[in-house]
């Protein structure tokens, strides 16, 4: 399921097997979510979902909600 795949990307990026993200999770909820994590998230998401983010999207991924929205724009539904 897309949800599982999204979870696994976040777990990989933040190196935390127990991490549980929700639709409401934002940058401030995860202390290690810095600009380096931004880059790793982009790369991980692009690799997992076989998509390419646009420059404006990359700059605006501040929360899980933003990621979900970007995915749904590409027909990938996460609940």
């Amino acid at each position: 399921m897309a949800t599982d795949r999204l979870q696994s990307v976040f777990r990989e990026v933040f190196d935390d097997d127990q991490l549980e993200i929700r639709a409401s999770t934002t940058k401030t909820d995860i202390p290690d979510w810095d600009s380096m994590a931004d880059v790793k998230l982009i790369i991980g998401l692009e690799d997992e979902f076989r998509i390419k983010f646009t420059t404006s999207e990359i700059g605006r991924l501040q929360s899980v909600g933003d990621v979900v929205a970007a995915l749904s724009r590409r027909g990938i539904i996460v609940d």
């Binding site: 399921m1 982009i42 646009t54 420059t55 700059g59």
Partner: protein, 745 residues
């Protein structure tokens, strides 16, 4: 669910039906459905299995095991009877690994075929390494890991490989080094790739990542974190945009020289204060230029200026022994500039080049470091049939093999030309072939289109033994390690055999088309070199000489006869500046033929050279097989009316030739001239210098003092006659008065 299964059954005509059906499986709503679709997909379309499918399977399996472990176990049970599907093999292995049965998983991974020779092979080898580590077998894991990294080219593979390094340590590498990454871009993602590539090259790297665009401060500030890190090497990853060049520069020459001087002064700091070797990245000339071709045709155009700077950097390092340039423009061109740069990542994260290009870039840096630290391959061992010519000489005969002319014959000749050029710049070539020696050598001797000659090959191992045996012999005869050998063979079976039997030997994957052999070999960056020396150009002859000498030694009638037949010539000189590095090396490393084992630093030796009462002698020995170079050192100190032999040593390469008598003879001559009464020498016993414990006794010295620990002092009174020098040396002695020039006095 029925929909999903229906769709699955219709995928047969799609390009990669396995991958497509796995994606359907991945999106299924729950564990039960996912596992069923996984079994269906791998069962139906799993006869072959490509890399993308493997990756998709890996994701499915790890999620399944985590979220729906019972369903995962079900799958494992259902896949327990091995079908003929490779995909099911992979799934089984992945499930076994995820459930902790590492040895069983390894047994499967080890025998699965590689999806491809590059990333696919790397993925399989990484799986082997992982499961070996899980089982505590670090040595084979390190080997698999090394091989995996050598086949890999993608960022993710490198990153996964670097994670496995955390479970190994520096004992699995040949050299430990601290490498710093500084520059004008985000460098964090370089670090795992650098560690992985370095490990594959034999280097255990501790990596420092500099701050964004902090490289100047970090290099110049003595209290910077970089300075505290005390790197052995610094990679200056500069980037063309950071230069801030305009579209058209009004004074391109001065801009170029200013830019180069700025970097040169940074190099100076790196060399003098930080004592680190610098790898300077040069500048990509970008594809996208608003001025288009004007960027080149105008003297101040940016492309032309960047090119000018790049050429200037090569010129600037010509006399810098501690700086190397890594040609980013060249690598980017080869990679493809269109994909080298990702503008989106650049704008948002200052990431350059694109993540997947990082391995291609850092491979060049690691190639430089390998050359710097002597970790390069030394010898290229070649097969004959199908590699140097088409066909089989033993069956097709001289007229039947493909060599020269047009078509594939020409391709083989071209490959030989490439090899000959390698040989010219210092790479040693050897042959290991399953053939009748006469048949094979006939081609070298009689085929008009042969480019390589017998003289180009240091050693021929031609016979019917398995190739790993031949390679062992090559290593033994040339006295090099197996890990210095690169083995090229057109036969996939021979390559697999050697890889399995001799994992230290590097075996590049060869394409089937000989026209592409040179590129495949070049791609390995096995023989990258910082400079060519005359020694390099002589190397094949040196190795041939060693090989011939080894043969001769076993067949001579008597020792003296053998020594006579060598036609040796000896050169004796006082210590000279240009020989210092070698002299220092000998003084500090020689153990066997070393009378006093006195170790000194370069500055201490320079001190000695300045003293008028010190006699210094460096000895060079050549024979009919070649020049052995500077292989002997003697230091005599005049004090209290006698000449003391402070240091007397020989490289083990030239022991047993009686050349030490020539050295002593010269020192005694000098002593006579100085009109001292005696020559005195100590013999300090060590565990390693047994060969010289009774040297002075044999030469007729008298023991003037014997100490309890075995050490003794000998004396030769100059009233005695000199003994006779052996006749078989041609001697040139520059150490006597008149020819001795005291430097820096």
């Amino acid at each position: 669910m029925e929909h999903a299964q229906q769709i699955l059954s219709l995928l047969g005509s799609v390009d990669d039906p396995l991958l497509a059906s796995l994606r359907i499986a991945a999106d299924a709503a729950d564990g039960g459905r996912q596992s069923q679709l996984l079994i269906d997909a791998t069962g139906r379309y799993g006869k072959q299995c490509g890399l993308s499918a493997i990756r998709e399977m890996s994701r499915i399996v790890s999620r399944l095991v985590r979220r729906y472990p019972d369903d995962a176990r079900q799958v494992l049970t259902r896949l327990a009877t091995p079908g003929d599907g490779i995909a099911q093999g992979w799934s089984r292995a992945m499930l076994l690994e995820a459930f902790g049965s590492a040895p069983e998983a390894l047994a499967i991974y080890a025998l699965l075929p590689d999806p491809d020779a590059g990333e696919g092979r790397a993925a399989r080898l990484l799986a082997c390494a992982r499961t070996m580590l899980a089982g505590g077998d670090r040595t084979p894991a390190a080997r698999s890991l090394r091989e995996a990294i050598q086949c890999a080219s993608g960022f993710h593979t490198m990153r996964d490989a670097a994670k496995l390094l955390d479970r190994l340590d520096c004992t699995f590498a040949r050299k430990r080094a601290k490498i710093a990454l500084v520059g004008t871009t985000t460098l964090d993602l370089y670090a795992p790739v650098l560690r992985a590539l370095a490990f594959a090259g034999g280097i255990w790297a501790d990596v420092f990542v500099g701050g964004f665009n902090q490289y100047r401060q970090e290099i110049l500030d003595p209290r910077s974190k970089l300075a505290a890190f005390a790197p052995d090497a610094i990679i200056v990853a500069a980037h063309w945009q950071a230069l801030g060049l305009p579209d058209e520069d009004p004074s391109p020459e001065s801009t170029a020289s200013d830019t180069i001087s700025t970097f040169a002064s940074l190099w100076q700091h790196c060399r003098d204060r930080l004592r680190a070797f610098v790898l300077q990245h040069n500048f990509e000339v970008p594809n996208v230029e608003p001025y288009g071709r004007l960027s080149w045709s105008l003297p101040g155009g940016r492309s032309r200026l960047l090119q000018r700077i790049n050429v200037g950097l090569w010129d600037a390092i010509e006399h810098e022994s501690d700086v190397a340039v890594v040609d980013v423009d060249q690598v980017a061109g080869y990679y493809g500039k269109a994909s080298w740069h990702d503008p989106a990542l650049w704008h948002t994260a200052r990431q350059y080049p694109t993540v997947d290009a990082i391995p291609a870039l850092l491979r060049q840096d690691v190639a430089v470091l390998k050359s710097l630290w002597g970790l390069n391959a030394k010898c290229l061992v070649l097969d004959l049939d199908g590699t140097l010519w088409g066909g089989v000489i033993g069956e097709d005969g001289l007229g039947g093999i493909e060599l020269g002319g047009t078509g594939s014959g020409e391709a083989y000749a071209d490959f030989q030309r490439y090899l000959r050029s390698l040989q010219h710049r210092g790479v040693v070539l050897a042959v290991c072939s399953k053939n009748n020696p006469d048949d094979a050598l006939q081609v070298f001797r009689a085929h008009p289109e042969m480019v390589l000659t017998e003289a180009d090959i240091a050693l021929f191992e031609i016979g019917w033994l398995p190739k790993d045996e031949g390679l062992r012999r090559v290593a033994a005869t040339l006295n090099i390690g197996l890990d210095s050998i690169v083995f090229v063979d057109d036969s996939p079976q021979e390559r697999a055999w050697v890889r399995q039997r001799l994992p230290e030997v590097m075996v590049p994957e060869m394409p089937t088309d000989p026209a592409r052999y040179a590129a495949a070999l070049a791609d390995g960056l096995y023989f990258e070199s910082l400079r060519v020396t005359d020694e390099d150009k002589q190397r094949t002859r040196t190795y041939q000489s060693n090989a011939e000498r080894a043969k001769l030694e076993t067949s001579s009638a008597s020792i003296d006869g053998f020594l006579e037949s060598l036609h040796m010539s000896v050169d004796l000189r006082p210590f000279e500046e240009i020989d210092l590095p070698r002299i220092v090396q000998l003084i500090n490393k020689t153990n066997q033929f070393n009378l006093t084992s006195k170790r000194r630093s370069e500055s201490e030796i320079r001190e000695l050279m300045r003293c008028p009462h010190v006699y210094s002698q460096s000895m060079r020995l050549a024979d009919r097989f070649g020049d052995n170079g500077l292989t002997g050192v003697m230091i005599g100190i005049e004090e209290h009316g006698a000449f003391h032999i402070d240091t007397w040593l020989l490289s083990c390469r030239v022991m047993g030739r009686r050349v030490e008598e020539v050295m002593l003879h010269s020192l005694v001559r000098r002593a006579r001239e100085r009109q001292v009464s005696a020559v005195v020498g100590d013999c300090i016993l060590t565990a390693k210098n047994a060969p010289v414990h009774d040297l002075y006794d044999r030469l007729g010295f008298e023991r003037s003092e014997q100490r309890v620990n075995g050490d003794r002092t000998y004396r030769w009174s100059l009233a005695k006659e000199e003994w006779e020098l052996p006749s078989f040396f041609a001697i040139r002695d520059f150490t006597q008065r008149g020819s001795h020039v005291a430097k820096d006095c």
